[in-house]
Symmetry: none
Subunit: 190 residues, 4 copies
DNA sequence: AATGAATGAGCTTTCATTCAT
DNA sequence: CATGAATGAAAGCTCATTCAT
């Protein structure tokens, strides 16, 4: 990579990082592009060389971070051996929950903007994420892909919404108290 | 009610209605207070006699509409006789789903802003909503209030997030195709 | 005075008092008529029955309070016996200074809006104030009215501006440290 | 200076000039920022690139113009030779008075907002102004700095307030009629 | 490619004033 | 006389976007 190309990547990264920082701490609504460029240490016009607008960076952040979470969880899971699919799935889900517990601000940012569509896009673009599907297909050998997808969707949805409510809002209680019933529910789903 | 009082209520209602209309069709972000007052046919200053800002109306709308949905569903449910708690619950949940299917824009508006906290507030303020708790307590006679609340939370969360994804985004499929697995999940939860 | 007339006077006084309170604490610029009527406990429209606008009340306050200060000082002075005009004048000036020291907020309010014209108006309308002129004419028997007025003007101006600077702004020092040189100056003027 | 830097200075100056013009002719209260930018021929946003708000420009104007007046007077004074400190001081004060006579609107604008603090700031920032202090220290060789400052303060205060009253309000008479007694007073002070 | 001064549309909010009750 | 809801002009201020350098 040439020096110029490297410089470009650096500008983009610093804009991205600044936007992430501001979105999570001040909120999307309260973050102006002038805030982002100031934090990134670049000129205003430079922003428009790399992003269309505020929501363009946001979309990239959401896709990126969602991918990262799932990727971390699946990688960690694949390092271990499990006696059953259930055990493996629980470990995987727990990785996600623990990550979100540590990254409350990130959870707050992405959840309201995360959709099944984003996850499917992540699956298409990143091989590792697709391994989640393999894991599920292995667990439900007698079901067709569509059914498996629905089950995965249900589990992700319920995990996501419970995490958001418990971790971000502390409602109806904290996540550790909710975990037993969440896992029991997932157990019943599969 | 005096003529003035009636007039006041009318102004407030027309502002509320205009805001609801614009929020659902154009989105919150794209709706300016000047749009709201124009649509409501009142002066700009009048808005500030009744609401603090845009988000003040929004909060009122969310609380109101959430209450309305739950209220409608529980009232409809209470008109019928059921053989079992499960049957009753399914009917109740189905009422909500069918309502949301018919009011896609409303769902889009409130879901991302709805929280368990709002629902609990609705329960406190409106007797009818509290009947949902009675229904659940009757269904789970051997559990304490806290446990019952967690189950109710799980069911509402999963119903809400599935509805949002399927009805608003059509992901991963439409709500009718998702219903069987949703109900099966709920059945397993209880 | 009839009950109705009494009621009217009460409304006016409460508006006046509220305005005075707000002007001194929040400043004229930051006080709206709606603040005044709220504090006075009357309706907005009522304000316009008694005053033209914000500055109308202000003018009344300035005239009133200026008169009050001068009136208090001259009355207090007239209760005593003095060996010389100088002694009498110093006592009189000191009364004003001590009063302003105790009413810093009032000083802040009126000084910037006080003028020689206001004082002359006060003299015309209130007999007591005119006694200040008598005092001076007695002190300068060989000068004509015009010359006496100039001297009085000089003394009032210098006292007022020194008080404002020292009491309100504490510049260049506090009033007690400035008093010696102020009195010395006045002594030299007469 | 680059073209851009020159352009920037020009914008700022035109805003400053427009504000000065409007403040003196229409008053601060009656001048809106939109008036200033219209007169300056720049966009509204440009105003906020250079000033925080209306009062920010005002502060700059007051500091600037006060400095200018004092600077002009001291420079003019330093060009001449005098037989005594008194003569020198009278010449200096007279320069100020004559300037204010010619700039009635400026006097009206700054006097009510001028304070000893502003003058001291001007002294710190501009070497020339400090020469006023040198002049005084030379005149009062036997007094310490603090005492000299008090005397200077008294003279400036009395000159300022007499000028304001006589030039702006024509009370109690015009400045030329007041001059003899003013100078006599100053003479007695020193 | 990068800059950042300049723009001006458009937002929120205030508030003096009116007038039907 | 008194009220206070309603008005709407006009204020302050923001900020995405452009474009000459």
């Amino acid at each position: 990579m040439s020096k110029i190309q490297k410089n470009k990547k650096e500008k983009e990264s610093s804009l991205y990082a600044a936007a992430y920082d501001l979105f999570t701490t001040k909120g999307i609504h309260n973050t102006a592009i002038s805030d982002i460029v100031k934090k990134a240490g670049v000129a205003k016009g430079t922003f428009y060389l790399y992003f269309k607008d505020k929501y363009d960076v946001l979309d990239k952040i959401i896709l990126d971070k969602s991918t990262e979470i799932l990727s971390l969880a699946i990688n960690k899971t694949n390092l271990k051996q499990f006696l059953s699919f259930e055990e493996k799935l629980f470990y995987f889900i727990n990785c996600i929950i623990e990550y979100l517990k540590e990254n409350k601000l990130l959870l707050k940012l992405i959840y309201k903007n995360l959709s099944w569509g984003v996850i499917k896009k992540a699956c298409k673009d990143y091989k590792e994420i697709n391994e989640i599907f393999y894991m599920f297909e292995e667990g439900f050998k007698d079901l067709d892909r569509e059914e498996v997808e629905k089950i995965l969707f249900m589990i992700i949805e319920i995990t996501g919404s419970v995490c958001y409510s418990c971790i971000v809002l502390n409602e109806p209680t904290d996540i550790d108290e909710m975990k037993p019933i969440l896992f029991e529910t997932i157990k019943k789903i599969i």
